[in-house]
């Protein structure tokens, strides 16, 4: 049965805000922690000041509705508040922590990877850790090497962590709702360049299942798996390719852990060609992981080598021209497709 759901235009940032609000309304154990996510200081006369809503304004307005007991401004200490979120999750709350930039994960990796991700395993399945860690990724705003990485590949490598990489406002809302409702550690990677992106977003509180890829554009000639903001780049490339008579099928995995292998393999079985577009660094990455999976399980369906279009094996440069060259462009995607199609 297809249920028509009403939609309206909103930005990626507003869609995330809406998902947080819905989750907090439906479940009183959902609490938010992070730097400047409420705004103002912890002083009585500023209680209703909402200056920030986080550095990008994503949590704007939530403190007014839910109060400072559920929207917690924390000290600038990732080790502290991420640890607090993981521990709160283990003891009955359903926290959503904001790690301002993923590049800071080094400060709190023990809490995420050696504690949260292993609780269920260490306690024989009796413990859960329903924490969601929202974090910004992506180059493109001249934020320099320490605030511009993607690094979701690092978390995809680790068992016990789910990795979500929404590419549209609608996906951001639906996937965040599922992430918060999920009983495992979920890393939710928000691409900072997409915050202003507008799109149709359904009303209501329906989540999008984790582990289900989305075909963003159907085609028969080549499969392009694109992650996060790279979906937008791939869609632009598809327009150019269509004008040359090449119909690209663009698959957005939406979550890297779990990975919807079936959808990718089925598409490659149809097109016999695969290009993977990933803004993360290329070594031991989501792109190489997907390429290896297809080479292993779909070898006999391939008519051409698997092509990777990724960032180089360097930190993100600050220089705007270099930064622009760093991020995979529609032109590079078109070139890669032409090589094999």
């Amino acid at each position: 049965m297809v249920v028509e759901t009403a939609t309206r235009q909103m930005t990626y940032q507003q869609a995330i805000n809406e998902a947080l609000r819905i989750a907090m309304r439906e479940d009183p154990t959902v609490v938010l922690l992070g730097e400047d996510i409420a705004g103002g200081a912890e002083v009585d006369h500023l209680i209703n000041e909402d200056a920030w809503g986080g550095p990008m304004g994503v949590t704007k307005g939530l403190v007014q509705e839910f109060g400072r007991n559920r929207v917690l401004d924390t000290p600038i200490t990732e080790s502290g508040f991420i640890g607090a979120a993981v521990a709160a999750a283990a003891t009955g709350l359903r926290p959503v922590a904001e790690l301002m930039f993923v590049d800071f994960f080094g400060c709190c990796m023990d809490q995420i990877f050696n504690q949260g991700a292993k609780f269920r395993y260490m306690f024989g399945g009796k413990a859960a850790c329903p924490v969601t860690i929202r974090t910004q990724i992506g180059a493109g705003v001249s934020a320099a090497a320490q605030h511009s990485g993607c690094h979701y590949s690092v978390f995809t490598h680790m068992p016990g962590i789910k990795c979500v990489v929404p590419s549209t406002p609608a996906d951001a809302k639906g996937l965040l709702l599922s992430a918060i409702r999920d009983d495992d550690v979920v890393m939710f990677f928000e691409n900072k360049v997409l915050y202003g992106m507008k799109g149709e977003v359904p009303e209501g509180d329906e989540g999008i299942p984790l582990g289900k890829a989305d075909i963003k554009h159907a085609g028969d000639d080549v499969t392009i798996v694109a992650i996060s903001r790279m979906v937008t780049q791939a869609l632009k490339a598809a327009e150019t390719l269509a004008s040359e008579g090449i119909e690209a099928e663009i698959i957005d995995p939406r979550t890297l852990s779990p990975l919807d292998e079936e959808t990718i393999l089925a598409s490659v079985a149809k097109t016999h060609r695969l290009v993977i577009v990933d803004e993360d660094n290329p070594r031991c990455s989501a792109a190489t992981d997907i390429a290896a999976m297809v080479a292993d399980k779909g070898f006999d369906t391939l008519d051409a080598p698997i092509k990777l279009v990724t960032a180089p094996h360097t930190p993100v440069p600050f220089s705007p021209p270099l930064e622009q060259a760093y991020v995979p462009s529609p032109e590079r995607i078109v070139e890669a497709v032409r090589e094999i199609a």
């Binding site: 040359e244 008579g245 016999h272 369906t301 051409a304």
Partner: protein
């Protein structure tokens, strides 16, 4: 929805047909299945039935016009359906074939890549993609024979499919095979149809006939099935040895067919035998059951004592055009099928060196004035394959009661009697004949 009536494709080689008459005029009410027009081809003349009930809105091909197969000849509309002249013209334009409409409003087409010899590495290994390698293995195609279109001279799975389609098309195209028998004589066989067809059908004609007796039905069958129409020894384009050494005994003819089936790798085949060919088919099915998957007997010899004296008179007479005409008059119930061309063809066949001797020798083996010498009725229960019996109700050569007797002797047989039809249903009632055989084939259990 208007229905476009198109020129049917009857024979394997039929490219067009000439409209020789219309039984209805524009504006008449027509009924689905009723004869609408008559079409003549090189080989035959037959009715084309209305594919739908309604009003005959437009006759596109008036009497006398020649129309290529699948080309439009008329348009039928529903009784209350309005179809303007403009809409009619547009409809006919689209029916001219898919090639005429393709290209309009389509998206950019990728220019076809040039195909070239596949690249090889130093060791001589052909550059083929994993998908191409796998598909070539499945289809049993040698990669070395495939042209490459992929970057760097790589064979892609598409290249394999293209090569396979071309091989299949070559194999499916009708061709004449000359099979050399163990005794050195050759037998001519017309082979057509897809190699990977679900069934292979071997057709055997009657006394004095040839492959051409199946001309009206082979084209239809070859769309779905592998078909092989045999010229029995002494007939058509096959060798016509002297009548000594038992060359024309029914067992010898059956043995020749067995060798054809083995040498052309047609086994297990559905064997369809008409008239005397039916007796040959029965002999084969009883002696070499493993070569067959099913048996179809059409107005067959061997299932009862009676045989027309008229036929024996025609066999004994010296060949002439008049004799040929009398034979066709005996065969066909509907005089429409007695064409000058058919008389000429039959006479020419009988006048070929050795042909008359062969006919007389076979007739002497199979028939006598006291009745048929071939008798399989009491052996039908030994058949190991499914049996279909098709008969013309008004057959004056071998009476239709032989079909009844056979169906009583073998109650599992599928029996079809064609009303108002004479000795040669595959010509006189070709559409009904193909429909019956197809229904029966589809009812067979899959091997």
């Amino acid at each position: 929805m208007p229905t476009i009536v198109t020129m049917p494709k009857w024979g394997l080689t039929m490219v067009s047909g000439t409209v020789t008459g219309w039984s209805h005029e524009e504006g008449d009410t027509v009924t689905e299945g009723a004869a609408l027009l008559t079409v003549e081809t090189e080989k035959a003349v037959d009715d084309v039935e209305a594919p739908a009930s309604g009003i005959l809105r437009k006759i596109v091909a008036p009497t006398g016009s020649e129309v290529p197969v699948t080309g439009p000849v008329a348009v039928i509309v529903a009784p209350d359906e309005e179809l303007s002249d403009e809409a009619l013209t547009a409809l006919l334009a689209t029916s001219a074939g898919p090639a005429a409409t393709a290209g309009a409003g389509q998206q950019a087409q990728r220019p076809a890549r040039e195909s070239r010899k596949a690249a090889r590495d130093a060791s001589g290994r052909v550059n083929a993609s994993p998908a191409a390698r796998k598909r070539a293995g499945e289809l049993g195609i040698d990669l070395a024979t495939i042209e490459a279109t992929g970057p760097g001279g790589r064979i892609t799975s598409e290249d394999v499919e293209r090569a396979a389609a071309s091989v299949a098309a070559t194999a499916a195209a009708p061709r004449s095979e000359q099979v050399t028998l163990d005794n050195g004589n050759t037998v001519s066989v017309l082979v057509a149809g897809p190699v990977d067809a679900p069934e292979t059908i071997v057709f055997l004609h009657g006394l004095g006939g040839s492959q051409s007796t199946w001309a009206n039905v082979l084209g239809n069958f070859a769309e779905t099935y592998r078909v092989a129409a045999v010229d029995l020894p002494g007939h058509g384009a096959s060798d016509k040895p002297a009548s000594e050494n038992g060359n024309y005994a029914i067992t010898s003819l059956a043995n020749a067919v067995a060798q054809v089936i083995e040498k052309l790798e047609l086994s297990p085949a559905i064997v369809v035998g008409h008239s005397l060919g039916g007796a040959v088919a029965l002999q084969l099915a009883l002696e070499r059951p493993k070569l067959l998957r099913g048996l179809v007997l059409v107005d067959s010899a061997g299932l009862g004592p009676e045989i027309s004296d008229d036929l024996l008179d025609r066999v004994e007479a010296t060949p002439s055009r008049d004799e040929a005409r009398r034979l066709l008059e005996l065969f066909f119930q509907n005089p429409r099928f007695i064409l000058d061309r058919g008389i000429d063809e039959l006479h020419a066949a009988r006048s070929a060196p050795g042909a008359d001797e062969a006919v007389k020798a076979i007739a002497a083996q199979a028939f006598s004035r006291s009745g048929q010498q071939v008798a399989f009725l009491d052996q039908l229960n030994r058949l190991e394959v499914p049996l279909l019996i098709v008969w013309g109700e008004l057959d004056r050569v071998v009476p239709a009661r032989h079909a009844m007797a056979a169906s009583i002797a073998l109650p599992t047989a599928w029996l079809e009697i064609l009303e108002g039809v004479g000795h040669v249903p595959q010509i006189e009632a070709a559409p009904a004949f193909t429909a019956i055989v197809r229904d029966w084939l589809e009812s067979l259990p899959r091997p």
